[in-house]
């Protein structure tokens, strides 16, 4: 199995690592970078628990090879809060009880964040479409929809995500 050197910035911190060609980005984040907030829920890219932002776009990090993210800029759940204050999306999930066991939550929050970067004021239908690729087994989704709407009304995607997206825009 061939190994490759990759340079990936995660949550603003640059890293240079040698990785196996077949390694998935989610395992790079969890194992190599020790950022365990990104979860693995399936092996078919159906559940969305591994969703992160890569260069401004939401990706399922179990569908991305680490080598394919070389030179990229990743934002994970650990990078969303700013100086200890949760992002509007994170706050919205707490205010509206948008999580129970919390396992799908990081991916769901990142998907919602990505949605709000694209559509700052989505209606319920747009929210449901935006998070359709993320499965939650606990909440029945209603309060997740409320959470995203709450976030839209209280600052949207948040400063960390907006800065991440702006940086990605600059690179494109």
């Amino acid at each position: 199995m061939s190994h490759h050197k990759v340079r990936i910035t995660v949550n603003g911190t640059a890293g240079e690592d040698e990785v196996e060609a077949r390694q998935l980005l989610v395992h790079y984040l969890r194992e190599t970078r020790a950022l365990t907030g990104t979860h693995v829920g399936c092996d078919t890219s159906n559940c969305g628990a591994c969703t992160v932002l890569l260069d401004g776009r939401t990706v399922k990090s179990c569908t991305v090879l680490t080598v394919a993210a070389d030179g990229g800029d990743v934002l994970t759940i650990e990078g969303l809060d700013e100086q200890g204050e949760m992002s509007p999306v994170q706050q919205g999930f707490q205010a509206c009880h948008g999580l129970q066991c919390g396992y799908c939550t990081p991916g769901m929050v990142l998907s919602a964040t990505g949605l709000l970067l694209e559509q700052p004021d989505p209606d319920d239908d747009a929210i449901r479409t935006g998070i359709e690729g993320n499965l939650c087994r606990c909440t029945g989704y209603d309060m997740i929809v409320d959470s995203v709407r709450w976030a839209a009304a209280h600052g949207g995607a948040g400063t960390a995500a907006t800065a991440h997206a702006a940086h990605a825009e600059g690179k494109h």
Binding site: E20, R22, Q23, R30, A34, L35, T36, G37, T38, H39, V40, G41, C42, D43, T44, N46, C47, A49, T76, I77, E78, L80, D81, M86, Q90, F93, Q94, A95, H97, L99, Q100, C101, G102, Y103, C104, T105, P106, V109, D124, I127, R128, T129, I131, E132, G133, N134, L135, C136, R137, C138, T139, G140, Y141, D142, M143, I144, V145
Partner: protein
Amino acid sequence: MGSMVGASVVRKEDPALLTGRGTFVDDIRLPGTVHMVFVRSYLAHARILSVDTDAAQRLPGVLGVWTHADLDGLPATRSVPGMERPCLAKDKVHFVGEPVAVVVATDRYLAADAAEAVVVEYEELPVMASVAAATAEGATPIIDGLPSNVVLEQQLSATDAEAELAAAPHRLAIALVNQRCAAVPMEPTVCLADWQSSGLTIWATSQTPHHMRNEIAQMFGLSQQEVRFVAPDVGGGFGAKASFYPEFLLTAELSRRLRRPVKYVETRSENMTSMVHGRAQQHDVEVGFDDEGHLLALRVRITQDCGGWPDSTGIGLPTLTSFMSGGCYRIPTIAPSFRSVVTNTTPVGSYRGAGRPEASYMIERVVDRVAAELGIDPLEVRRRNFVQPGEMPYATQFEGIVYDEADFPGALDKLLEHVDYAALRAEQAQRRADPTAPLLGIGFSTFVEMGGFGPTPLFEQFGYVGGWESANVRLNVDGSAVIKVGTSPHGQGHQTAFAQIVADRLSVPFERITLVHGDTATVQEGIGTMGSRGVPVGGSAVFKAATKVRDKAIRIAAHMLEADESDIELADGRFSVRGAPDQGVDMAEVAVRAFKPHLLPDGFDLGLDETAHHEPSNLSYPSGAHCCVVEIDRDTGKVLIRRYVAVDDCGVVINPLMAKGQIHGGVAQGIAQALIEEVTFAENGQPGTGTLVDYTLPSAKDLPRYETDHLVTPTSFNPLGAKGLGESGATAAPQAVVNAVVDAMAHLGVRSIDMPCTPQKVWRVLQAATRNGS
């Protein structure tokens, strides 16, 4: 300070989970950890002729490969005596996905490579992947040493109700299927075992850490002290994480042999065939009734598909179905019986509601069928048969099954305050007359289920030490409080709910109360989280422990204030003397004084640290009334849920926000069972739904908004008056949806449809009915 019980406070557990700082088992990093991967059977029924591990052993990073023969003496998991499942298949495999060998390597990718290199030679045996096949004439017994695949048969009543059925003016036979579903917690099974000279520590995805600790200690011949079982953050369980899995034992044993921590992380594809499935019951029902729709006799013959190995929890579920088969109704004669059948499929265990949703679906479909038969409104049939509020507590014919306080008609009345039934019926008639309009269906479910599990005599049957729950409440010298509980949450919000209970009891600020759970080294004793027992049983133990602390604190305060205990009042964190409000001491001062023996009466037991247990004298019986309104597209058969309204009576509500979340989640799973989900196997036992590509979980686009309301009839069976509600939604929803789907097509003569009501199935029923009707 207002009352915290009943307040919609946001959850304490959320900030960690929302910022990626939760601790799930796979997040735990121990130095030197190695990874275990299973070699699983790709055949459903076969004799193992040989397992060649040589090539795998030689691959890079591999520390070893083990088969059943290499693990001589490793005990089997507990089940019905004679049906214990070995951790690795011994001579035969019983279902696709059954582990045959394990590989341990330094890296999980390398372990997976090595597992691929293990060559197993099988001799195929006849596959019986359904109850019909497993009970056919001449079927081979799947479990060696047993005479047939029917492993348990029981009649739970003195009569088979034949005389009563024969005497009834009307008699109707109905066949119902409660299809096999998968729990699919978003976090699959994970465990990490570290066997050291001082003993074994195991972190695992479990709802019942103390029970698992006890099992593992017994299996390895260790003292309970030598086994520490930790369930940290757990990503959903839904009953399926209450079962004991072979990987718990295997990682422990291999850690002992390798002297390194061993981790196992199940993939989703493995999870779909390895974690216990739920439901999987067929019901052959006969009901006798009179012209007015009064139910006179009910015979229910339950057939449970228990999969390739009877699960120790799963095997008990038809009993619960039998006990609840009368639903909310006064039925003079109920005759349930069941048989459990082993098949070449994944084992069946508990799944949200565990045995009660099956009963509730059965009786609520029966009521609708009786209504249709007589041309009476289904609500009217329900009203005529309800057990009345004045008859509570209501002793069913089953010993120990006594419904607590409830108001079944009241719940239905409250539901109808939200639903303009007459308007819906009028709209339905209009839609039927207009062939271009989607059909409209209105379905009801008035249900009662079991919550607050215990008591001990019932729980012993599932292999637990007891049905009680334990709690310890400690007041620190700074006036903050720590709660330790034996329940082990996986999304239910115990940190928040229990802090609310203690905040009220001790007048300590909610923010200054923390919860410790899920670790047998730090929590005295416990049973676990299942059967909606968190608040009714765990919360009651917390309430009792807090009350003991409160009583002791009052004694200290009385001593400090030189007043009589009966004159001490506690409010806003301050003890004062009745009638002299300026005389007082605050909680922290009392807590400090609790550690000053020279300033307390002689012999006073120091500290404010109390443990209590709550043994429920009875189960609690959450109930309610749900309504589902569906639209059916005539061209595609797709069912759209237009409204879902739930009125629940879970007794006292501790946190309305969290209660709403529990209802939503349960209803979502119930709707999904009604419309989408079904685990399937081909005739050769190959899973048809082995990944999330094939087993469709509902997404946000598939589920509706929910409308919820509560009727509060406190139970007298615990000090909180709470009945629990974690399983109510999943118990109530399937029949509300299916009744609505059938109702939408009733004018065409449709009387039944099996779950899941997929577009294709509904379309076919609709086509057939339209053809017959025209």
